[in-house]
Subunit: 321 residues, 2 copies
C-alpha cells in the first residue's frame, strides 16, 4: 500500500480528523498525504490568532496532543492562564503555557505579513511533521452559529456557552471571498479523498464552502470516502449529534451520509450501525463496515488502513463502471 | 512621618528604583506616593508590548518580583519560552509563563485603545498595589544607544548584546513629542522628589527628556533628592558604571551627582564613598551619608526612611534660606 505515491487528500476538523490523519500518516509516505484543515473555528482572542483545528491536527501528528482534553498539548502547565486571571484577563478559553507559544509565534508571523499556510508549514516542520498540513484557506473565514440566543461567534457558542444554545443555522462569514488552498482544488495525481470523522456542519462544511472546493470534489473521478463521525447515534466527541438533531437531520450515520450525498462514493460505517448499511447504499453510496473507534494509536492505524483499502477498492469498481 | 499626606514623587527605572519604591511604599500612605517610571526601555517583542521597568516596579511592590534575576516574577516557569524555542521563535529575551500573561493582557488592552497609564493602574490594582505607579508618558519613547557597533535599540544592546558594545551617545526617540504624565508636571502639594537609585542615563534621563519635566523639577521649591546608584565605583545592578566611563563621567557617585547638578538639592551617598562628600557639596548639593545597600526588605525600608528624613530636613533648610 505504501508503494502508492499518489496523494491522499484528507479533509479534517479537530480531534476525530486529527486521529485519522495520524493513522494515515503512519501508513503513507510524507509526500502522499495532505491534510486540509478547517480554519473557520479560528479566532482572535487575547490579541492572539488562534487556530484550534490546525493546532489539534499539528499536535496530534507531532505526538504532542493532550489525550485527555482533545485540545492543547500534553504535559501542559497553566501558569500564564492563572496569572492572567489574577490580572483580570479572560480565562474562559484555556490556553496552556506551551500552547501559548504557538499562538504568540503564529500571531507575530501573521502580523509580519506571512500567510497562515506558510506559518503552519514551518511550525509543523519544527515539530517534526513531514506530511502536509494545509489550512483550507489563508483568508479569514469565521463560523457564525445562529441560535435561539441569536448569532454567536463559533468559540463563544462552542467553548464559552458549551454548545448549549440550540442551533438554527450555521454560516461561514468570509467563505465566499476566500481562496481555497491549492491542494483542495488540484485533483491531479490523487489516490482519493477522505472526509475524516469530523463534525459535518462546522468542520467539513466550511471547507466545502470555499469557492471551487465542492466543484473540484464533485468533478474528480477518484474515490471520495467519508468516515462516520457518529456511532450509535452519538458523536465520539463534540456537538455533531446535537447539531444533527437541531438542524433537522437523522441523528445517525445515515443522516451524515445523506448530508454528504453527491460528494462521496463510499462511507465507512461503524459496526454498531451495520443496520444502516442498506439505507446508505440507497443513496448510491458504497458502505464499508468496520470498528471506527480510535482509542489507541493501533486503532487509528487500523481504521486508516481499512479506509485506504476501501478507497482503492472503490477506485477499481469506479474504473469498471 | 506617615502623618504627612503630601505627595512624594519618586522617579524610577528598574531594580534599584523598584527597591526604594517598595521601601517608600511601606512608610507612606498610598495616596502620598507616586512612582513615575521610565518607559523608554519598552519595546515590541514577539508581537507583545513589553514594559520592563513598569513591570519590575509593579512586581516588586506586589511582592512578586524575582529576587535572583532582578526582572520577571518569582516562582516562575519557562514552558512557553521552551516551546517557543522548539517552534523556532526568538528566545533571547526571556519571558516566564506568568510574566507572559502581563504582556498578553497589556498588549490586548493597548490594542483596544486603552492608555498605558490606565492599563498600568488596573494591573497594579489587581496585584494589590495601592500607591500610584505611572508611566512617564503614554506616548512611545524609545531609547536608542549609539555604540561602536552603530545605533542599537535599547533591549538589543541591553539584553541581546549584554551591554557589551561601548556607548557613545544615548537618545530618546519620540521624547520631544511625548506628553508627560500629569504627576510629573504637577508640583502642588508635594513633599519632595526622590531620584531613585536607577541608571541616570537610561532610566532617569528619559523621564527628564519629556517636555516640561525638567522645567517642573527645576521650578519647584520642594526638596529634590537623588539616591546614589553607584557604590564604590560600581553599579549595584546594570551598566551604570560602564556608561559613566564610556560617556566621559567620573565613575563614581560624584559623577552621578555632577550629572544631576541643578536638578537636585540633596544626594544620598553610600558610607563607602563618604570621601566624596566634600566634592559633591562643592556642587551646591547637600549630602546625607548612609548605608545605601538594599539587600533585605528592612534595608529598603531603612534607606527609604533615611531619604524621607533627608527630604524633610532639606525642606526646613530651604525654608530658612
Amino acid at each position: 500500500m505504501s508503494q502508492d505515491n499518489r496523494r491522499v487528500l484528507a479533509l479534517a476538523g479537530g480531534v476525530g480528523g486529527a486521529k485519522l490523519a495520524l493513522g494515515l500518516s503512519t501508513l503513507l509516505p510524507a509526500e502522499a498525504l495532505t491534510v486540509a484543515v478547517n480554519t473557520a473555528d479560528d479566532f482572535e482572542h487575547l490579541g492572539l490568532s488562534i487556530s484550534p483545528d490546525l493546532d489539534t491536527v499539528m499536535y496530534t501528528l507531532a505526538g504532542l496532543a493532550n489525550p485527555e482534553t482533545g485540545w492543547g498539548r500534553r504535559d501542559e502547565s497553566w501558569n500564564a492562564m492563572e496569572a492572567l486571571g489574577q490580572l483580570g484577563g479572560e480565562t474562559w478559553f484555556r490556553l496552556g503555557d506551551k500552547d501559548l507559544a504557538t499562538h504568540v509565534e503564529r500571531t507575530r508571523r501573521l502580523r509580519a505579513g506571512e500567510t497562515l499556510s506558510t506559518v503552519t508549514r514551518d511550525l509543523a516542520k519544527r515539530l517534526g511533521i513531514t506530511c502536509a498540513i494545509v489550512p483550507m484557506t489563508d483568508n479569514p473565514v469565521r463560523t457564525v452559529v445562529t441560535t435561539d440566543q441569536g448569532d454567536l461567534a463559533f468559540q463563544d457558542w462552542f467553548v464559552r456557552l458549551r454548545c448549549e444554545p440550540a442551533v438554527q443555522r450555521v454560516r461561514f462569514a468570509g467563505a465566499d471571498k476566500a481562496r481555497a488552498a491549492p491542494a483542495l482544488l488540484d485533483m491531479a495525481n490523487l489516490r482519493g479523498v477522505i472526509f475524516c470523522p469530523s463534525n459535518p456542519f462546522v468542520s467539513v462544511a466550511p471547507i466545502l464552502a470555499i469557492p471551487g472546493v465542492r466543484t473540484a470534489l464533485q468533478g474528480t473521478k477518484r474515490p471520495r470516502v467519508a468516515v462516520t463521525p457518529i456511532v450509535g447515534g452519538q458523536a465520539i466527541k463534540g456537538p455533531a449529534a446535537k447539531m444533527l438533531a437541531e438542524l433537522g437531520h437523522d441523528v445517525s450515520a445515515l443522516g451524515v451520509a445523506r448530508y454528504y450525498k453527491g460528494l462521496i462514493d463510499g462511507f465507512v460505517l461503524d459496526q454498531t450501525d451495520s443496520g444502516l448499511k442498506g439505507g446508505i447504499e440507497d443513496f448510491g453510496i458504497k458502505v464499508h463496515v468496520t470498528d471506527t473507534m480510535m482509542r489507541t494509536d493501533e486503532d487509528k492505524r487500523r481504521l486508516a488502513a481499512a479506509t485506504l483499502e476501501f478507497v482503492d477498492a472503490l477506485a477499481r469498481s469506479l474504473q469498471h463502471s
